[in-house]
Amino acid sequence: MHLLEPRANPSHLMRWSGPPIAILLTLLAAAALFAALGKPPLQAFYVFFIEPLETSNGWSELALKASPLVLIAQGLALGFRARIYNIGAEGQLLMGAVFASGVAIYTEGMEGVWILPLMVLAGALGGALWGAVPAWLKTHFNAEETLTTLMLTYVATYLLSYLVSGPWRDPGGTNFPQSILFGESAMFIPLFEGLRLNSSIFITLLAVPVFWLFVARSFRAYQLTVGGLAPAAARYAGFSGRAAIWMSLVISGLTAGLAGAMEAAGPVGQLTLSLSPGYGYAAIIVAWVGRLHPVGILLSGLLMALIYIGGEAAQVSMQLPSAISWLFQGMLLFFLLGVDVFVDYRFRRRRDKRLMVREEAGA
């Protein structure tokens, strides 16, 4: 009747081997795909995964792209542990960017070391606010956060679109829907001459150990985990379900908002419609592939960044469509979820009648 049955003792080793196996399967599937497109798979892999890392610019781009992914995923993982599924980090990122850009636009022409910190704070606040809305909806109306967070992403997109094509459009520009270019005081400083990598990376580098400490040692994170694993046990122990919802959504909104500020005041340098190449969505995959563990997320964030950069390289040098990066992301998540099923469950073979008889004869 049942094709899958739960394993009595899911292997710990296999649980951690899951992500590498999923990566391997993704590569195999990708090889088949490249072959079907008439591209030699080995060359494609070279372009995708090796070539970008042969230059210092490649490494700079890798860190630049991994930084927001890792930061957002840290916040998301916190909620995922409590089974509070914020899938609207993209919207929270955009709101963070909008708030931070607001500071930059209204301080245009001013100079001062306070502008950038204010932008970072504003970005965090914008993201946190955009995360607080679904938290409020959930605690007051029991509205499913998976829907509200996603829907609010569209609201954020339209708000951004309104701002850059209306009140915040660059008056000296060419009527493109984008804001002014930010001044030097409203930008993160580049770390190396000629590379785009900037000082915002330190925010992420600080966030990893902070989240690690929080997850591994704090009573709050313990409460969140209990709430996710056994909601009735959390109620029994008197852990507040509302606090868990507020904390998960506000913190994950905050990290996404920070990432938005980092993008606007970093590589983009202005508010535009194409501010984020889907970091908020990709971070969901980063969090799961990293097994919701702060260090695992660091590694999976680097991998996801490589897929982004490799995808761009493949478009240029192999004329592959831009959808290739999305395809990689999708396959990675698909294979990971598939592998996870087999960590916890196993196939039960349909019983063979003849085999049974033989067993009995032997017994």
Binding site: E5, P6, R7, A8, N9, R217, S218, F219, R220, Y222, T225, V226, L229, A230, A232, A233, R235, Y236, A237, G238, F239, S240, M356, E359, E360, A363
Partner: protein
Amino acid sequence: MNEPAPETPAARTVPPRLALWNVTKRYPGVIANDDVCLDVMPGEIHAVLGENGAGKSTLMKIIYGAVHADKGHLIWNGREVHIANPAAARHLGIGMVFQHFQLFETLTVVENIALALEGKFDLKALALRVTEVSAKYGLPLDPHRLVHSLSVGERQRVEIVRCLLQNPQLLILDEPTSVLTPQAVRRLFGTLRQLASEGVSILYISHKLHEIQELCDRATVMRGGRVTGEAIPAQETSASLARMMIGRDLPVCVSPPFAGEQTPVMEVAGLCYTNEDPCCASLFDVSLTLNAGEVLGIAGISGNGQAELLAALSGEILSAADAIRIEGKPVGRLDAGHRRDAGLAFVPEERLGRGAVPAMSLTRNAMLTAHRQAGMCRHGLLRFDAARSFAERCIARFDVRCGGTETLARSLSGGNLQKFIVGREVMQNPKVMIVAQPTWGVDVGASAALRQTLINISRTGVGVLVISEELEELFEICDRIAVLAGGRLSEAVPKDQTDAERIGLLMAGNGLVAETL
């Protein structure tokens, strides 16, 4: 009804109604049935006796086709059969009344019965047959009543009548009395004897020795998935049956008198709770006083407000501030965590998923409620060494058999996990301890240890409140007993001033008259 087996002289060679040969069923990590043999004669009431987890229910599900054996043979009236599914079992003439009823609450009795029948049916004619069969076997039922308005005893009648309408030759009853009052049990036994006299074989699954001695012709005793003996219950004593069932003598609890002062530690006054779901129980004006040094029992059948009362006492449901007081302090508006701060400890009915987090180690499960008392949490950070030493002490003091503090809660047996949870709560030096179904699904040895623990902790000056469906258990450990029926709590009476009979009447929802019919 089914034709009784013809009692001709040749009938002494009648084959058994059902025989099981060497039935084995394995689940991942456990052998539920190991080489089990069993036979039931026509018209025989045959007991299958064993503790929780002995493999009784799995065996019955195999007979009913709900589970398939890995090995072994089923012989039905002398012919080997393969029972593919419950429909095939019904077709052969096997009926089963499950421990947990399988009824739709929003449908009427006759609609529920019609759902189980194959082919076309006429509701009117069926209603007549229901009335006819139920009158014949002393199972009065109104076919047009909605199931949610029926008492538990009446719901069981629906299940039985549903089986009887299919003219069974074998009726399986899985722990049928766990939800019945002593009076309803007697009525059920009358019905079963009548059925047996007409040639219907009955498989009666229970762990209650006195019932089996009263009702059954023969008994097959199971332990750990194996058959450990066959007996004629009338010729055995409870002690000898118990030895077969658990492999040693039944342990007994001792209740020394309490030396200290009997001051109230928890007072509940006029506690009300209206459940939004009309199919669930509400609480009406519940009042009780729990004293230091006593074990107070609340008897009653689950579904009469037990879950709601527990949630209201533990703080998972809030009530008026002074509806509940702990040591005089109103706690009705406090949540579960703050009530623990006020000295409340609570052991819930569900161990896995509520009393403990299945996928967490015992160390981490110790933190679940003990984080406040034992210095496990400082400046918002957890101290795992403190939690580990707490778990170690709990394991040693309460004899929790497990692979150490890093074992996952879900890998412990029910009894050992319960010992750990009770121990965790006891070690926090509560003033009030509330325990729901303390020995549900726990083996006899661990049950005795748990009961003694509860008595002992009360004698140190703690007020212990036990909510249980098992009357015998309450009479064994409690000083006073009250009954919760229909959301109303009766007055608590000292144990020696009442008996199972009187408690049974109260459980039926009426202080004076037995459940009518």
